[in-house]
Symmetry: C2
Subunit: 315 residues, 2 copies
Amino acid sequence: MSQQIRTVAVIGCGVIGMSWACLFLAKGLKVIITDPVEGAEDRFRRYLDEAWPSIQLQLGSLQQEPAKNYEFVADIVPRLIEVDFIQENGPERVEFKQELFKTLDQHARPGVVIASSSSGLPSSAFIGQCEHEPGRILIGHPFNPPHLIPLVEVVPHAGTTPAIITTAMAFYRALGKRPVLIRKEVPGFVANRLQAAINAEAYSLISRGVISAEDLDTAVTSGPGLRWGVTGPIVTNALGGGGGADGFNTRLERLGPAIRGWEKDMLEHRFDWSEERLSLLKAEVGNYLTAVNWSELTRQRDSVLLQLLKSKPNL
Amino acid sequence: MSQQIRTVAVIGCGVIGMSWACLFLAKGLKVIITDPVEGAEDRFRRYLDEAWPSIQLQLGSLQQEPAKNYEFVADIVPRLIEVDFIQENGPERVEFKQELFKTLDQHARPGVVIASSSSGLPSSAFIGQCEHEPGRILIGHPFNPPHLIPLVEVVPHAGTTPAIITTAMAFYRALGKRPVLIRKEVPGFVANRLQAAINAEAYSLISRGVISAEDLDTAVTSGPGLRWGVTGPIVTNALGGGGGADGFNTRLERLGPAIRGWEKDMLEHRFDWSEERLSLLKAEVGNYLTAVNWSELTRQRDSVLLQLLKSKPNL
Ligand SMILES: NC(=O)c1ccc[n+]([C@@H]2O[C@H](COP(=O)([O-])OP(=O)(O)OC[C@H]3O[C@@H](n4cnc5c(N)ncnc54)[C@H](O)[C@@H]3O)[C@@H](O)[C@H]2O)c1
Ligand SMILES: NC(=O)c1ccc[n+]([C@@H]2O[C@H](COP(=O)([O-])OP(=O)(O)OC[C@H]3O[C@@H](n4cnc5c(N)ncnc54)[C@H](O)[C@@H]3O)[C@@H](O)[C@H]2O)c1
């Protein structure tokens, strides 16, 4: 664990905040939590009890009892003096975050990172009223649930200082996460855009009647999806070109012309969100999803996920 | 195994043909192989020896010695009388396949499926000279290597008969494959288009300087890629919307407007294959790939792949 960071504030303890808090606790940090919703503390205790075993499994640790080193407070402001890192997970509304970040920036100790889990708003959209040290604000966008999925997208705004970026990356890394640096604010950051790209083509093919929704999923889970947990698009391309540093260029040269032909057709027929195509899509998807065994599927997904995470500690 | 199919012809025994032949043998079929290249038979024997253990591992079977029930022949024509299914894996050139399919169609027994592994050419492009029974020709497009990756895209042309489609799907399924039916010939079929979609956005983001090539791969392998071996795009969307048959629509309603914003930006900045962006892309990718430990990576990929395949026999 990063030496200086011992106490973390979790602001907003819903779906994402609860999961972050579990991870911080499992890593031996003290966690101060605030969330105005009624029953927030009870809800968190139940979540922690449920999540604890899989966190321990992933960490290869054997701590039977969930850590208790957390505290719910009604007002975080007077406690910010103790806090070494802030992870914000409140509602995704710009006015809300503007107001909140103004307050946090006003009261956090100098040099303390204030990271927002925001999946949509870049931090430049809500730092306008921060008068003290806006350079310590950035996005630390996790993937749900952050206590299991390693990816964190670190997205600085134009004025975030290099030292703060370094501190945030090192902190997430020390938690066992895999932070990636998004060098420019773009809508959707990176992982959500990559997902959007595959989704858009999936919606297009299904609504064109090229393939059923079920077969579309199979085409991923029994094909390229089997590898994307280990080799990303770039390395996968390079291996397709024979591997090695030249493999990527070899593949581009060999397949480039064909790929450009596919792209042309994809663009021409791209999913346009028209009522007509939406209703074709929803009808096909509806047929498929009524037949899915959800509990079996999520059980299998979680077990494969844990296996994958254990099998590639250093990837 | 499908009751009627006992003997398979493998036409062309390169990268893809060798792998198909191994699988057919492991499933107890007799295989008649033809490939004019010098040393084809030796090359195949070495491939079979190497591939056999992982096939057995995947099948949960314990057959120590590779099957010997195959035969290389210089001319397949006189042997087609014995053959119950043809898998073609020759070079990806339209004139070549036109000529070859004319001959195969002329001599194969009536009702015998002639499947081409072609990854690019739809069969309508090369059946023009088939005068006997063009309705038994279709694409059976595997993913490399077919002896391990379950996906087979079955792509009929407009005149392929329903009975032939059914026979081909049943045959691949009996081999333990996961065939999906592509209902209309589109360039790139389905899985390659989905890969092209994610690749295009990856190339765009890297060449725009939004993220490094290495972090791009991490954004997949530590994020959404961890799930795509179990849940495809549609089910993943539905789970993101709370699961169940309504989850998909819920997610579309909740995130649709944001996604359309990302798509707009993606389209505006899409990778255009210009010299400028290509060279930015290649420079970034080059930096990354020189540092990759390829043997460690492929070892890890193969072991994860086998684990995944064993962990989801019925998905
Ligand atoms: N759900 C996801 O999959 C996901 C993934 C990555 C990032 N995010 C981001 O994380 C953030 C939280 O999303 P979520 O899904 O956990 O939402 P959520 O609605 O589950 O949780 C938000 C919590 O904030 C609390 N809150 C409201 N006002 C507050 C205040 N003044 N101070 C402190 N807490 C307050 C709410 O009571 C609620 O418990 C959002 O910015 C979202 O974009 C969500
Ligand atoms: N390589 C892949 O990843 C991949 C994946 C899916 C499908 N495919 C498709 O599979 C087919 C074969 O591709 P490959 O990668 O195995 O190519 P390859 O070059 O490795 O193999 C082609 C083989 O065909 C042989 N051949 C040439 N003339 C022949 C003839 N008259 N009769 C029989 N064999 C002949 C060649 O000697 C060679 O061994 C192509 O249609 C390709 O699109 C390839």
